[in-house]
């Protein structure tokens, strides 16, 4: 057999049948379900009198809509509450019986944080969820991608999906990440280079010494934002770091089955000589902390950089779009980014809501205080992340610095809950999208790493975290 990429191997091992028009029926091993993109899918099943084919291959949790404040009293907004209760009810239906983690369960959290945490996410699996950041799970060498609600219904009913094969795009990241620079900076830099549609139709494999040296959590941050470059899936080949992370997780295999699984996972790396449709070389040695200045994630530069000048735009259309983005952001053309005052700092989300992210932020905030008037939200990605952070005393660091320590959920990443920006507010955010209105109508989002967000909290402005190290 000719040499194959990691993506090719994952794809080939899940083909059920080929269909007309170059589509393939692909078997789906794992399906994560949340409250926002599932109600219409369950409704579709019920109307057609169909059952969930393999309930144990699914795992449901509420995350987008939930309050991150004390929630023992339940959800106040009746529309949000109905959506959450609908998921709960659907999971309990005799024809569905989908395993469900309730809101007050200590394991509750953002769907992309709990999958890996529970060992539900495994190498070699196909994993889908009605959420574009499903690419996160590709960090384990799983083929993981976001789907729409019609596809959610197809998976629930048949445990398969009709898909088109993607092209192979490898991003080789060589070198050692400098101090104060992490996976978030690397992925923002990559998106800046290839653009928000640079990975459309592709699966991005992240490779190279810088990726091999990364923890699982850093790899998840990297893969999480593959979709921001237009790629539905990001991938990292599994290795000892992956196996060490997974061993002993509640839903991971154990005993002799663990050994058999690891042996098969070792086969998943891209074969030497396998060909890629596209490759990109990234030298990480000189990488600087990144910050976005515009209204999509490719509008990014180093913290020492400036917003572009209108004259830099290649075409009149691009100039008009640049002008609009800068006006929305309240930034002058050519403006220096360092020193822009922020109103809000958000640390959390499926991109940066894991324990290492919180440690990174706490290291900067320890012994310091958030600048007066700056609201700082620290939102752990799951109940287990929260418990771990509290066991390490990170909550005390955040509280002493004047931050708010919240309950797990998607929070201000998308403002579907109470956590939102007000019009004109500027936010240093560890989330993944800086689209207009994403964090609240007319809110201004600057995407940064957890360390950079913490530094912005202390100074009350966009600032270079390396000054703190």
């Amino acid at each position: 057999m000719s040499p194959r990429t990691l993506y090719d191997k994952l794809w080939d091992s899940h083909v059920v049948e080929e269909r007309e028009g170059g589509a393939t029926l692909l078997y789906i091993d794992r399906h994560l379900v949340h409250e926002v993109t599932s109600p219409q899918a369950f409704e579709g099943l019920a109307l057609a009198g169909r059952a969930v084919r393999r309930p144990k291959a699914a795992l449901a949790v509420v995350d987008h809509n939930v309050s991150t404040r004390d929630r023992r009293a339940g959800i106040k907004d009746p529309v949000s509450r109905l959506q959450v209760e609908t998921l709960e009810r659907n999971c309990a239906e005799p024809a569905f019986r989908v395993p469900y983690i309730p809101l007050l369960d200590p394991r509750q959290g953002i769907v992309h944080i709990i999958g890996p945490e529970q060992g539900f996410t495994l190498p070699g699996a196909t994993i889908v969820c009605g959420d574009s950041h499903t690419s996160t799970h590709g960090a384990f060498g799983a083929l993981a991608f976001g789907i729409g609600t019609s596809e959610v219904e197809h998976v629930l009913a048949t445990q398969t999906l009709v898909q088109k094969r993607a092209r192979n795009f490898r991003i080789n990241c060589e070198g050692v990440l400098p101090k104060g620079v992490g996976a978030k900076d690397l992925i923002l830099h990559i998106i800046g280079r290839i653009g928000t549609a640079g990975g459309t139709g592709c699966a991005l494999e992240f490779a190279g010494s810088a990726v091999r040296a990364m923890s699982m959590e850093a790899r998840m941050t990297l893969c999480n934002m593959a979709i921001e470059a237009g790629a539905r899936a990001g991938l990292v080949a599994p290795d000892e770091t992956t196996f060490a992370y997974l061993e002993g997780r509640p839903m991971a295999p154990s005993g002799p089955q663990w050994d058999a699984a690891v042996a098969s996972w070792r086969e998943l790396a891209t074969d030497p000589g396998a060909s890629f449709d596209r490759e990109l070389e990234v030298d990480v040695d000189g990488l600087e902390p990144q910050v976005t200045w515009g209204t999509n994630p490719e509008a990014v530069t180093s913290i020492r950089g400036r917003a572009p000048r209108i004259a830099d735009a290649a075409t009149p259309e691009a100039a008009a779009q640049l002008e609009q983005a800068l006006a929305y952001m309240g930034i002058a053309p050519g403006q220096v980014l360092q020193g822009l005052p922020v109103d809000v700092v958000f640390i959390g989300s499926c991109t940066n809501g894991r324990i290492e992210d919180l440690r990174e932020a706490a290291a900067v905030l320890k012994g310091r205080r958030a600048a007066p008037g700056v609201k700082v939200l620290v939102v752990p990605g799951s109940g287990l992340v929260k418990a771990q952070a509290e066991a390490e005393g990170l909550d005390a660091v955040f509280l002493a610095a004047g931050c708010q320590w919240r309950e797990p959920g998607c929070s201000m990443c998308l403002g579907m809950n109470d956590d939102q920006l007000s019009p004109g507010e500027r936010c240093a955010s560890t989330s993944n999208r800086n689209f207009e209105g994403r964090q609240g109508r007319l809110g201004r989002t600057h995407l940064v790493s957890p360390a950079m967000a913490a530094a912005a909290a202390v100074r009350g402005q966009l600032t270079d975290v390396r000054d703190f190290l």
Binding site: E43, H64, G130, S132, T196, A252, N296, E317, M416, E436
Partner: protein, 195 residues
């Protein structure tokens, strides 16, 4: 699902690139548990002012946008989240096709599953269609757009074309061949029992 064969109608023009799903249907409208009724919230933040009144300059608040069934858009249309609420809102407003130079992958799939045609049209042709400001006829089988005397081609994915032309129910199709899924699962139980 309603098949798409030949459709005639007016076009709304929004030619900027990277129109994302947050813009198409903002987060506060994702709390619904229904597919219908999202049309009035389509492009909410662009379409309405803070006080809820219409923004008169916006394409969908004037003719032909108000009664359009085609949307002419820029590159990378539908980038961002996987929310199928985006095509639901477009369909509920009355759109049957989006004509753009390129589409985000998840959006294009979601559109097709709802009978909305994502037609890949060259930027020059889009400009000509926008300038024509007349009724368009879009014929999927021949992949042609007619605007008065002018005619342009477009591209679609062959698989998507098949689904749209037939109005195919894919779940039904897969369930008819469920034996192949069962065979796959039996094989899988031997090679990867942990899955």
């Amino acid at each position: 699902m309603q098949p798409f064969t030949v459709h005639t109608g007016l076009a709304a023009v929004m030619l900027q690139d990277n129109i994302n799903t947050d813009l198409i249907i903002p987060k506060q409208f994702l709390k619904t548990i229904h597919r219908r009724g999202l049309g009035r919230h389509l492009f909410h933040d662009l379409r309405y002012r803070e006080d809820g009144s219409e923004e008169p300059g916006f394409a969908l608040n004037r003719e032909p946008g108000r009664s359009a069934s085609f949307l002419l858009a820029g590159a990378n249309f539908g980038c961002g989240s996987s929310r199928e609420h985006a095509p639901w809102a477009l369909l509920d407003f009355g759109f049957r096709a989006v004509l753009a130079p390129s589409f985000a992958d998840i959006f294009a799939t979601n559109a097709v599953k709802n009978g909305i045609l994502p037609a890949v049209v060259a930027p020059e042709a889009l400009l000509a269609l926008a300038a024509a400001a007349c009724e368009l006829e879009v014929d999927l089988a021949s992949q042609r757009i007619r605007a008065g005397a002018a005619e342009f081609g477009f591209r679609t994915d062959p698989w998507a074309r098949g689904i749209l032309l037939e109005g195919l129910d894919e779940i039904e199709q897969t369930l008819r061949g469920i034996g192949r899924v069962e065979a796959f699962e039996r094989r899988r139980a031997g090679t990867a029992p942990w899955l």
